[in-house]
Amino acid sequence: MTRIFETPLYPYARSRDQDAQATIRHPVIVAGAGPVGLAAAIDLAQQGVPVVVLDENDRVSHGSRAICFSKRTLEIADRLGFGEQLVQKGVRWNLGKVFFGDRKVYEFNLLPEEGHRRPAFINLQQYHLEHDMVSRLRQLQAAGAPIDLRGRNRVTAVVPHPDHVVLTIETPEGPYALEADWLIACDGAGSPVREMLGMGFTGRVFEDNFLIADVTMQADFPTERWFWFDPPFNPGQSALLHKQPDGIWRIDLQLGQSIDRTRETEPERVKARLRQMLGPEVDFELEWVSIYSFQCRRMERFREGRVIFAGDAAHQVSPFGARGANSGLQDTDNLCWKIKLVLDGTAPETLLDSYTAERIQAADENILNSTRSTDFIAPKSANSRMFRDAVLDLSAAYPFARPLVNSGRLSLPCTHDDSPINGPDGLADGPSRTRPGSACPDAPLASGDYLLDQLGNGFTLMGLATDAPGISGLRVVDPGGRITPELRARYLGDASSALYLIRPDQHVAARWSTADGATVEATLARVKAGG
């Protein structure tokens, strides 16, 4: 059987641009067709912005990459038109078990908050995600969207100019040049674009090595997340077992420092380790084995003139907490509407400074969280290990210690409290979770629909127990009659009425108890101007 990561999904095809007399200029070029680059392309194309995506490969990525996609990512995917496929295919779990040494110390149920269309997260192989994204891109293309995905087009040179970027691109038929008003670099942790521009990428390198094995297993393992600290089959280290679709399990074994990589990835050696972990009676097959180590670092700024960085190209975290791909999709969610406004001439370039400000804040939050998880999972000193083990011992006996156990903190969207484009918070009694800068939490509406599905791709006004003033170009969401308890709790709190101005990326720009059209228009203008 040919598997999806073995099939060229966007094989090389000669573009007219390669035969043009003069270098062709495109409004936006995206470097990299991983999840982040594809999200950028779909987002822009959906808004009518012509976009060219270049990738040195021609198929979805293989191997163990991202597997855990958070609710916010699923909500972004819904806006981009491929959320349902992910949720249909993905594995959901709520029960986690924590082991220490040879005993289970406790188990937990995530008990996700009710009243959201999407689950807290799903497990799904990255290649399924990319496949669904390419399908969505094809669907947009078929409907006439100006989007061009070019396989085996490798960017080999980038020359920045004040108002555009010139790229040299290598193809199987030789090189050609392109110009872009804007270049979005989504070309991964090793970002060739970043390297070519000589931009710094500093942070903390972790010495620990982890073995990843994706195995197919017939075993009737429950759909739970199992995490071991210092298990008998991997003494002094950690281990993780996690289910993916198609009967595939992700196994993550910490190997420690200074290891022999070749020896550790020998199939027989890996299988011997896994037999110890899973028990001798379990049949399994290796689908993928690799070893990784990781860094926690970010660029100093995410924009250099007309080149903008997103995803792993801009920031890297440890895998604990699933903050890599999830934060990358939040980058482009944040970026694309801003680029659209700038290209339309309705916002100045300075609006893009808010992309750097907001997403650096998010990157720092992600780095902080994933570094703390790493310090718990792989303690760097005897003292750090002593406190870690003390927490685990206590967690078996007393509930109080369980929140201290850190095997990865679930990726939640960052609240951009100090963003330059936040408008006023004119709702003194309003819930904290929907203050300006927050990603809108979902809520069921009286109609049976969900709030986030009503928000669309542009700025939106939502009035609760107050009329939203009519403003041209501004959509109005009417929650329709009765305000559901969830909508009330999340958007009104103790306030008697509320008016929310919501950004195209479903973040709260401003809120008031009530406001007239002039006030809203002035705020909207300030947001678009970059604050």
Partner: protein, 65 residues
């Protein structure tokens, strides 16, 4: 926040001190350190307040220098 209490607050201090020593009796260095770590965490949870805990950390650090 309640201020960190640095005035005498222990009723019958000799008894409490003896309890502490007794808990460590017969433990090797590693087991003793582990007990201390668990004890700190139990007490930290009882305190709860992060600012108060940080004040306690600072007080402990100051006295040692």
């Amino acid at each position: 926040m309640t201020d960190l209490v640095l005035e005498p607050n222990i009723d019958r201090p000799d008894d409490l001190y003896a309890d502490l020593l007794e808990a460590h009796e017969g433990l090797d260095e590693a087991a003793s350190a582990a007990l201390n770590a668990r004890l700190i965490l139990v007490l930290a949870n009882h305190v709860g307040d992060r600012e108060l805990f940080r004040a306690a950390l600072a007080a402990a650090r100051n006295a040692g220098s």
